[in-house]
């Protein structure tokens, strides 16, 4: 079935792009990649919460 084949191709190509290109090269998990432990991640976020301010543009 031509339609079915086209759709399966689109699904597979899309999933490959999303999971193996976008996820790996464009969407690294910032906290997982930059901090080794949950405690370090917590410290980083608390530091962000206590040292940042939203400035008027």
């Amino acid at each position: 079935m031509t339609l079915g084949r086209s759709l399966w191709k689109i699904i597979i190509v899309k999933l490959v792009i999303i999971l193996f290109i976008l996820k790996i090269f464009f969407f690294p998990n910032y906290l997982k990649n930059n901090f080794d432990t949950d405690a370090a991640r917590s410290d980083h976020v608390i530091n962000e919460l206590t040292t940042r301010q939203v400035h008027s543009q």
Binding site: L3, P28, V45, L49
Partner: protein, 511 residues
């Protein structure tokens, strides 16, 4: 030391998220609504045994399948963006979002996918009854998927059933039932799903009107229109009811959103609802300019919408920013003071814990808890930063609402002429019917703009501004990703439109 934030990067991250979400929302509402319409068509086939209804069902199922195939997994990208662009937010809400999103992934999506296979490949392989049940299960599974996502979204608008843990910087779930059954979650789910049913009905009416104009597949098109119009009319009336409830919930929990979509600068009682208006783009808070060049109001209706009385006081943007002691309204100015105490006490708590100073940490935590409800306001420099974009809100809301009422009228016309079997002779109505799908799309996206631009500047209402929720990335990187996505999404959209148009052109098997 207070550090500055690259607002350009924040805005690029917001633009990327908005682009992904708006693209995802082309496919999702069609899936939610078409799944029910197909189930209704198949029910008629099941009850009558009329082969032409089976062919009709299979035709719409094919279009449903194309939409599902192109749209599936586009929502996953949003979850990737949480971890990359919104890492502070992602860390803080992990405990809240984990449960609903896991249920969505495991239960709803698998339910949907399993029965999806039976629905598509099970014709003549399973009994008619089991096939029909499978089609209904796809509809239920799709809508259950939406439930969990919308519960998570509603929590961002109205964070309940949680407590903030200052040791881990995470919101921890205390009461999952409060999260699932919060009035905002119920209102969001019912309004979003019913508007999706309406949108899918418009799609069926659009395609069928085109067939009737071309004098093709007349029987199939007329039958399709009748069922879709009745479903669409019921859905649109329900959309009005759920939209009214959504506005009432906004008035209770996000009054700034309500004031922004009505461009209601100064509070009043009784308060009128603007039916139509042209805004003055130069209007600022507390200036003497009129907010509108032109406006038509329904007297007292905003009071009724927001307060459920004809003379209730509806706070304006100026009340909510600067406060109004006469009406007992605390403004962003006052909330900022409390928020800054909350932020400072969190820092004190962390320092005391590091120094093992038990008494100091206890005192700091008590101070934090006393001011926690205003935590997010502590990050602002100016109270006006609590204001969303009034222009976008006003026009998005009025376009959405105006189109919603127009759809009711159009569905009634299609039902009247459909039952009289005069659709083929009413070319004007069919010409009006063809572009309905695009109008429905505009209404859908406008609705999400009201919901999400109206949430700004918050990632989590009153607790976390988007500028603090973000990851500290280089704005060039985020901008590049935005344009790559724009290209990718455009290619996928062209593929969908091309395949869909080919199938529509080809039409159903002759009946």
């Amino acid at each position: 030391m207070v550090e500055t934030i690259d607002i350009g990067m924040v805005n690029w991250s917001r633009a990327l998220f908005a682009l992904t979400a708006m693209y995802h929302w082309i496919f999702a509402p069609l899936t939610l609504g078409l799944s029910w319409i197909i189930a209704f068509y198949e029910t008629i086939y099941y009850r009558t045994g009329d082969e032409s209804w089976r062919k009709l069902t299979k035709f719409w199922m094919k279009l449903f399948g194309i939409n599902f195939a192109i749209g599936v997994a586009t929502g996953i990208i949003l979850e990737f963006e949480f971890g990359t662009n919104w890492s502070n937010y992602s860390w803080m809400v992990g405990d809240i979002f984990g449960a609903p999103l896991a249920i969505e992934g495991i239960a709803a999506f698998f339910l949907e996918s399993t029965f999806f296979a039976v629905m598509f490949f099970g014709w003549n392989r399973v009994s008619k009854r089991f096939h029909l049940v499978s089609t209904y299960m796809v509809a239920i599974g799709s809508n259950l998927s939406a439930l969990w996502i919308l519960v998570a979204n509603a929590w961002m608008q109205y964070p309940v059933g949680m407590t903030f843990n200052p040791d881990t910087a995470r919101f921890e779930m205390q009461d999952i039932m409060a999260v699932i059954f919060s009035p905002v979650a119920i209102s969001k789910f019912t309004h979003t799903t019913s508007s999706s049913f309406l949108f899918a009905s418009l799609f069926v009416v659009s395609v069928s009107s085109w067939y009737l104009l071309k004098q093709r597949h007349l029987k199939m098109a007329k039958r399709s229109i009748l069922v879709a119009s009745v479903f669409g009319l019921v859905a649109s009336l329900y959309v009005v009811f759920t939209g009214d409830e959504a506005a009432f919930q906004d008035a209770r929990h996000q009054p700034m959103k309500l004031a922004a979509f009505e461009a209601h600068y100064v509070g009043d009682s009784p308060s009128g609802l603007i039916a139509f208006g042209i805004m003055n783009p130069n209007k600022e808070l507390r200036d003497d300019r009129n907010a509108f060049y032109l406006k038509v109001k329904f007297p007292r209706m905003l009071s009724l919408l927001a307060k459920r009385t004809f003379d209730g006081y509806v706070p304006g943007l100026e009340d909510l920013i600067y406060g109004n002691p006469n009406e007992g309204i605390m403004g962003a100015v006052q909330k900022m003071k409390r928020g800054k105490i909350a932020v400072a006490s969190l820092a004190d708590y962390k320092a005391a814990k590091l120094n093992d100073d038990i008494l100091a940490s206890k005192n700091a935590l008590e101070t934090f808890r006393a001011h926690e409800a205003y935590f997010g306001y502590g990050f602002f420099e100016q109270p006006e930063q609590a204001l969303p974009s009034v222009g976008i809100m006003f026009y998005s809301f009025h376009i959405m609402a105006g189109l919603g009422f127009l759809f009711i009228l159009i569905f009634i016309l299609f039902i009247v002429f459909g039952f009289k079997d005069k659709l083929s002779q009413t070319g004007w109505l069919l010409k009006l019917g063809v572009p309905l799908f695009f109008l429905g799309f505009i209404a859908q996206e406008a609705g999400w703009l009201v919901a999400e631009v109206g949430r700004q500047p918050w990632a989590i209402q009153s607790m976390l501004p988007v500028s603090i929720a973000r990851t500290n990335l280089d704005s060039g990187t985020v901008a590049a990703t935005f344009f790559i996505f724009l290209g990718l999404f455009t290619i996928l959209l062209i593929a969908e439109i091309k395949i869909m148009l080919t199938q529509i052109q080809h039409g159903p098997e002759e009946v």
